[in-house]
Symmetry: D3
Subunit: 234 residues, 6 copies
Amino acid sequence: MTYLQNDLAQLATVSTATITMVLLKHGLRNVWLRGTRPLGTGQHRIVGPAFTMRFLPAREDLATPASLASGRSTRAAIEDMPAGSVVVVDAMGTTDAGVFGDILCARMKARGVAGLVTDGVVRDVSGVLGTRFPVWCQGTAAPPSVAGLTFVGWQEPVACGGVAVFPDDVIVADDDGAVVIPKALIGQVIAAGADQERLEAWIMTEVERGVPLLGLYPPNADALARYAATKPGI
Amino acid sequence: MTYLQNDLAQLATVSTATITMVLLKHGLRNVWLRGTRPLGTGQHRIVGPAFTMRFLPAREDLATPASLASGRSTRAAIEDMPAGSVVVVDAMGTTDAGVFGDILCARMKARGVAGLVTDGVVRDVSGVLGTRFPVWCQGTAAPPSVAGLTFVGWQEPVACGGVAVFPDDVIVADDDGAVVIPKALIGQVIAAGADQERLEAWIMTEVERGVPLLGLYPPNADALARYAATKPGI
Amino acid sequence: MTYLQNDLAQLATVSTATITMVLLKHGLRNVWLRGTRPLGTGQHRIVGPAFTMRFLPAREDLATPASLASGRSTRAAIEDMPAGSVVVVDAMGTTDAGVFGDILCARMKARGVAGLVTDGVVRDVSGVLGTRFPVWCQGTAAPPSVAGLTFVGWQEPVACGGVAVFPDDVIVADDDGAVVIPKALIGQVIAAGADQERLEAWIMTEVERGVPLLGLYPPNADALARYAATKPGI
Amino acid sequence: MTYLQNDLAQLATVSTATITMVLLKHGLRNVWLRGTRPLGTGQHRIVGPAFTMRFLPAREDLATPASLASGRSTRAAIEDMPAGSVVVVDAMGTTDAGVFGDILCARMKARGVAGLVTDGVVRDVSGVLGTRFPVWCQGTAAPPSVAGLTFVGWQEPVACGGVAVFPDDVIVADDDGAVVIPKALIGQVIAAGADQERLEAWIMTEVERGVPLLGLYPPNADALARYAATKPGI
Amino acid sequence: MTYLQNDLAQLATVSTATITMVLLKHGLRNVWLRGTRPLGTGQHRIVGPAFTMRFLPAREDLATPASLASGRSTRAAIEDMPAGSVVVVDAMGTTDAGVFGDILCARMKARGVAGLVTDGVVRDVSGVLGTRFPVWCQGTAAPPSVAGLTFVGWQEPVACGGVAVFPDDVIVADDDGAVVIPKALIGQVIAAGADQERLEAWIMTEVERGVPLLGLYPPNADALARYAATKPGI
Amino acid sequence: MTYLQNDLAQLATVSTATITMVLLKHGLRNVWLRGTRPLGTGQHRIVGPAFTMRFLPAREDLATPASLASGRSTRAAIEDMPAGSVVVVDAMGTTDAGVFGDILCARMKARGVAGLVTDGVVRDVSGVLGTRFPVWCQGTAAPPSVAGLTFVGWQEPVACGGVAVFPDDVIVADDDGAVVIPKALIGQVIAAGADQERLEAWIMTEVERGVPLLGLYPPNADALARYAATKPGI
């Protein structure tokens, strides 16, 4: 990996709104995982390296209840997950079969996984909420994954919500949803993110005292000077 | 009918997640009503025979405010509903006209109807919530049904959320959404459902005490033996 | 304008369900803004003349962070909004870039804008909810508008949720969503709306005491006579 | 029926473009069957009373190869079709299972059926084209109907391409696609259709000699006078 | 304008495949008008400055047969079109109402318009093909524009097939479909386009004589040297 | 491989309509590749083992013109294709960037590849048609693959048109579109396919001489006896 766990800790104070703006300034527009949102209310922001899982459409000869016991099953993938990772499940946007239910979420939580992000759905939603494992998804459906999906592997490049995610890219998810930060850009995002958060907080105080937007947001030279004057030690 | 009301009572303790798994083991994958979810928070699980209603797209010569007074209107259908039934409304997934509002929901509740499941939406959502009549739907829209839909009949075979539903099939709806159980399979679902619930509860306790998934979920012979040892009287 | 602010005040007691029914009786079926719903819980009904904003898809040479400082930016539009207006943003249904975030919502609130209605999404949802500015939208996405949209102007005719909206048409939004009332029909809606609300409230009390629907909803001559008898001063 | 077969013959000279304009003038906007187009090149215009067929989504216990031999199968429906009718198949827009193949099309042709209109697809396209039976559909797919659809009945009201069609409404299909004429409006369409065709032909000759559009199309009083002067016997 | 008509003539030999690759090298990914394809077989490539037209969804009080005679109608727009322009119609992807039929296409042809590109459809397809006016669209539908669309203006920025188009951007359409070239980039595209076409033609001859792709396409230094040796006068 | 090349030759006389029916009888419903159809007219049926390719959505840091020269590019995949294989490209249904153009198709043809099946589109359609390489796809778009897609590998399990395809499954494509035959079922399909074709041909002759469908299609015992009497050597 090209980043350290304590680098990632710094990202925990940066919103996905700020991260997407920083990435746009680096020319990346397609980093937002569409259609995935917090399942529970009050889920805290999560940050971690992506652990990817890949599904294909169900084929009746492959996606069977028996396949759940195979050495290539979702169960085997879960037992391979490192603590601190964010699981990214490519369900191809499928909303009529749940990728995981309460038992699998409980096990991921037990293994110290940071959370789950998928463009699919989960099953047994009250059980999943009961585990307090943080989940970002499209919603819920009762049928098991094998009713609609064939699991094919983990730690491969995947698509999730219309975005390419590679193992060890970094995922940040909060109330807005989830964003991928390509591994090579972690440093830049950390560097710019905290500054941008501080600047926007100052702009918000300006708006709250009645300052109009033009010249303030984005700030022109004059506004930047006023902002600089507020920063301690500058 | 091929089942009795007290058979259905046994289903009230079985989740839709378990029912869809049991039906899959009988070869049925397409039994999950897509796009319908609980309207109110805390709606309890409902179980009952399907009472079907069928809409077509609006045609300006047919779908008029005057048509609401006809003997073939949604009103006439409601007055024909038996207590305990689950109303299944085929709105062809229409989300810009509400199939029912507060008055019709209040009347269904007064008639003892168990609940409403539709792939469409309801109107006057605060009024509908006020009736405390349980509703599973895609959301809300203010326009009356005749703004977008033509009602054509009841107790016919219908499609709801991409699934075929026949009168007297059984519907179960809970926090995940709604499933249809074909009439002929009620017995099997009842027989297998309670067992499956008990087994999964035991697996969950195993996971909670740190047991890995492989061999546990699905359980191998060893796990099944441990499970059997926990059951009273076996 | 063909209506006065105190005309609009009368609409504040009329639900969007009633307004869409009145407009249908005038031959208008396509007045419901699809896909937009309250962002916050407990947002009160808003009423006001439409202030329109128009986006196109992003083009990389136009939709840049730098464009946010232009005299034709969303910021300039906001500084042009009159108090009491309802902002209608045509985002072409885009759900992967937020049209506004917390700072812009705070500024609209400071200017006395009644609320925001869009077929797009907002960003930084916790910040937006923090401003207590009323928003109807499709959901949330973190990326800034320029990641997916090019802003081109304001106070032009727009499409929002599949409906044509012209500046100074009137928008009403409540728990069900949002409806447009063409300027020329405001008078008729006000005249019919309050009556219809009163009639439906009476019908609801009838249903609550067990009266069947046929002849009651819609009311036949007999029901109307009973209703008339309940009205004071008639 | 409220019309005679020789009434329908008069419609054979009126295009669907003209028919939809006439129906719009009677307040009907939703009469165009979306997503259905000629399968073969050079298919002539067809006109006839609708013979409706209705499918639901496949359910594995119902939609089986064995079901094709049932007395309620598509085969039974075909043997019930009167000569001259236009078959309207409600396939709910399904594009991955063919409603009919070459054998069924050959049999419909043998029975004198005028043609097939569906919002679904056909299978074995080269065989179907070989029968020279006129078909309007969304395209082709090899799987049999039972792979994705459950057939439930015929001569019921149906939806096709987002439009309500009742048995004995009239269907006209040509190079543009297919339109439904409600039974009660056949007379008006016949009356206005031929006139409108003649008028548009005259306007086309005017455009061809360089006359600008304003005042010509639609024609103002002056243009109508010029047109009247061209009509023999007026 | 920042380009001359004879500049555009040079683009007539450059395919849309080459133009999109050149624009990608300038950082523009979203320039391809989705869902629009040649209506007639054998339509030649067209090139010209965009003349834009903008529709909104139909509203029953605005989109009426009478509105077709208004001074703000599509007819008025057509009479304002300069010869050589490519008409770009923003129909918001609507496929159930035709933006133009044979008469309007004949008039555009008479005015010397280069062709029509729309994300909507045309009506009376056999008539339109009869005019030999080049059209790129999504298909055909018989209903008139006012059945589903409200026309609001011309020569404004529009969206077409998910792409922003401004008046006087340049449109090129061929067998693949249509691309927009932003006004400011015309020079670069002309400069790079012809070279790229020549290079690809040479690569094709190499492939035809059996050369493998690696190092050839894209060409490495060695391949470029071989290519240079083939160019006359270099 | 579990089948031989000369086994596959036998499949060349069996239509995809027949193959999907045989697979349905083995319980497989989801084997039809949706949305892919012949690009050229008169393309003959192709049969061969699948050679799979996998794309993800474009990410601006990965999907660049420079990436086309990488050792993991589509070019490298093509140089690895065995003669006789059918290339199956998982483009996730993307229709605004072409997976291949004329040069790559020419090279695949030179390598003896049987044909291309994709749920995406191709670019430079006239060039591709010029190569006479058989292609099944959704249509055409000029932008290069890197404008919308990131290529990640070959000979992995993929999804194509909503169906799971594994390397060495067998693909058959004809005028209807394309079907996958799981490796393990090749023998059964070959065994049943030719018989089914012969039976259906006989049924067609029966229909042509006026025999009604009931009892004929599917054939009852009587019809089967008549059929048996027609078979030489039985």
